[in-house]
């Protein structure tokens, strides 16, 4: 998608670090992350599992696990020219932000509905929790409208229990639910995992449709790079709790500057070229242990471009192009992605 002209900032994550207290010590899940989300922008977070994407998103609505601890940094949310510091909000205030301003949808959304109440109760509970003075009838009408937009049989879905719906239907119902309060930001954590390819396709198409109609921003966590490429304006690659590369979608996908982004993009089999010529390069090795972090580029042990320098000192993120940032000493050596078709 095209990036539009200068947008207002909506969400700004400043130097955020979060650690989990574990029996073995502090696990640094998010380390010094900076990320800005503008109005009407789609940001994709890519990276392997366990690299801190989910922790980062949970912390935006302050829903981290009990053993998570904010080490430094803050998350700012801009509303009507006012700054709200989400990381310092009281439980009561953040409850108002949740879903009304920022809706967070979870990974593997198959059991996100309470099995003993009907789907419509979920819509009603959500709206009632935010005390907007809607009548039950108004809520149902709005829900029906949203569900129809998601191409669901609204009446049937509202009066169903979760187990009566298929995986794809539940996912679409959840997306409809996430728009019931017109949030400014919707966070999708792996919206298409556990769905079959056709259903995935449908979900993506519906997301695009609804995106065209409403004004809101999306943060999408995915390891399906095709989704990121298709939906996102901006891509941030996360590795070992850090954002190692951040830039416009076309920059990241066609001329990645971090060897890890390069590896992720190259790992996708290019089915379009029917040659399938052994280009299925995956990244060897596994992510580092985030409890004992050494002062070096965390990716260096798995990196083909690593030099001596990389093992000595952790690189900081630098600007390498117009709104393109990367944390790598050897970014100039990373080749552009070859496009065969």
């Amino acid at each position: 998608m095209m990036t539009k002209a200068m947008k207002k900032e909506l969400l700004k994550i400043n130097d955020l670090s979060i650690a989990y207290n574990t029996p073995r010590g502090k696990l640094h899940a998010v380390r010094n992350v900076n990320l800005t989300v503008h109005e009407n922008e789609v940001v994709a977070l890519i990276g392997e599992s366990g690299c801190g994407k989910t922790t980062l998103c949970l912390s935006i609505v302050q829903l981290d696990e009990d053993n998570a601890q904010l080490l430094n940094g803050e998350i700012n949310y801009y509303k009507d020219g006012e700054v709200k510091i989400l990381t310092q909000m009281s439980e009561r205030d953040i409850k108002i932000i949740r879903w009304q301003e920022i809706a967070l949808m979870f990974q593997a959304s198959q059991s996100v509905f309470n099995p003993v109440i009907k789907i419509k109760e979920h819509f009603i509970d959500t709206v009632k929790a935010h005390d907007n003075g809607y009548s039950r009838k108004a809520i149902i009408d709005k829900s029906k409208n949203l569900l129809s937009k998601m191409q669901l049989d609204a009446d049937r879905v509202l009066n169903s229990y979760a187990h009566e719906l298929s995986g794809g239907m539940k996912q679409r119902a959840l997306i409809a639910l996430s728009f019931i309060l017109d949030p400014k930001i919707v966070i999708f954590d792996e919206p298409t995992t556990a769905l079959d390819v056709l259903t995935q396709r449908k979900i993506i198409d519906l997301l695009r449709l609804i995106k065209e109609e409403y004004d809101f921003s999306i943060i999408i966590i995915t390891h399906d790079l095709a989704i990121a490429a298709e939906l996102a304006d901006k891509v941030a690659t996360m590795y070992a709790g850090q954002i190692v590369e951040n830039g416009k979608t076309e920059d990241i996908f066609y001329s990645p500057s971090h060897p890890y982004s390069y590896g992720l993009i190259n790992a996708v089999p290019k089915l379009i070229s029917d040659k399938c010529e052994g280009d299925l390069s995956s990244i060897p090795g596994s992510p580092p242990d985030l409890i004992d972090i050494e002062n070096k580029c965390q990716f260096s042990p798995r990196c083909n471009f690593a030099t001596e320098e990389c093992f000595r000192d952790e690189p900081t993120i630098i600007k390498v192009g117009e709104s393109h940032f990367v944390a790598c000493y050897n970014y100039k050596n990373v080749p552009p992605i070859r496009r065969d078709n």
Binding site: Q110, S111, P115, A162
Partner: protein, 291 residues
């Protein structure tokens, strides 16, 4: 054989993890002590058969570690020897019942059709049988010797395991590797023993300890009620202590407390082992019923 090797490896890994769990270690230790005592006691702590009217209901001393009973006999050798029968019988019961459970539980879903339906119906009916009262009534009709009791107990308790294993096999049947094995034209027996049984091992072991618990409860209960032939074991000790009015005799406290605590420890050890196994295998067994 590969599968035995696989089982052995799994067992070793399991044992190692279990030893890191305090409760599990406690359970295993108690059970091992009871087994050890059962094995060596006939030689080291032989039973004293002669009554000694001068020594009735003596408190614990250096000579009589747990005091003496209503006939002036030392209680400790009775405790040391009194677990063997219970344990052996519980083991036999659990083995038979687990075997029936595995056999029918795998056969029913694999054969399927009417056979499966009838067995399932039968198991459902079976589960509604009030086990202990029925045992009590049966002991009024027949002279239940230890082995007959083991068999009856096993037959009375196969249905629960049958149902769990059947469900597990049904879900395993759908999994890819079993499908793959079928496509490779491996026989069903092979699939059962090579693929399905190892996968259900944790489950079976846990059921085994559970079954042993039930068997011990039933035995001790029947012994306590005086419905089984008398021999030396903890249940009979309880019965005698009870029948002798020892419970209303403050001096006889040790006579009744000793077997009661011994039985509690034996059952607790099985419970703890079971719980530790459950924690250990939880990731394997955990199923989400949301969908």
């Amino acid at each position: 054989m590969e599968s035995t090797q696989y089982l052995f490896k799994k067992f070793k890994v399991g044992l190692k993890a279990m030893l890191s769990d305090k409760i599990g270690v406690l359970g295993i230790s108690i059970l091992l002590i009871i087994i050890l005592l059962s094995a060596i006691s006939p030689y080291i702590f032989p039973l004293q058969s002669r009554a000694d009217p001068t020594q009735i209901f003596q408190p614990p001393s250096g000579e009589n570690w747990l005091g003496t009973d209503h006939m002036g006999r030392d209680i400790w050798p009775q405790i040391a020897n009194g677990g063997r029968g219970l344990l052996l019988l519980a083991f036999i019961t659990a083995s038979i019942s687990v075997m029936i459970g595995i056999f029918l539980g795998t056969a029913a879903p694999l054969i399927g059709g009417k056979f499966d339906e009838i067995l399932l119906f039968f198991a459902d009916v079976w589960l509604t049988i009030p086990r202990f009262p029925l045992l009590v009534v049966l002991s009024g009709f027949f002279n239940l010797t230890s082995y007959v009791l083991a068999l009856v107990l096993a037959i009375l308790s196969w249905a629960g395991l049958f149902r769990s294993i059947r469900a597990e096999v049904l879900s395993l049947k759908e999994r890819e590797y079993v499908e793959a094995a079928k496509m490779l034209d491996l026989s069903m027996i092979h699939v059962i023993f090579k693929e399905i049984t190892p996968n259900m091992m944790p489950f079976i072991i846990m059921n085994f300890t559970l079954m042993m618990r039930h068997a011990i409860y039933a035995q001790v209960g029947l012994f306590f009620l005086g419905l089984l032939p008398l021999e030396v074991n903890w249940g009979v000790m309880l019965n005698i202590a009870w029948a002798q009015g020892a419970i209303y005799h403050p001096d006889a406290l040790w006579f009744i407390l000793a077997p009661a605590i011994a039985i509690s420890l034996l059952i607790l050890s099985l419970v703890w082992i079971n719980r530790s196994l459950e924690n250990l295998f939880n990731p394997v067994l955990r199923t989400d019923h949301d969908d």
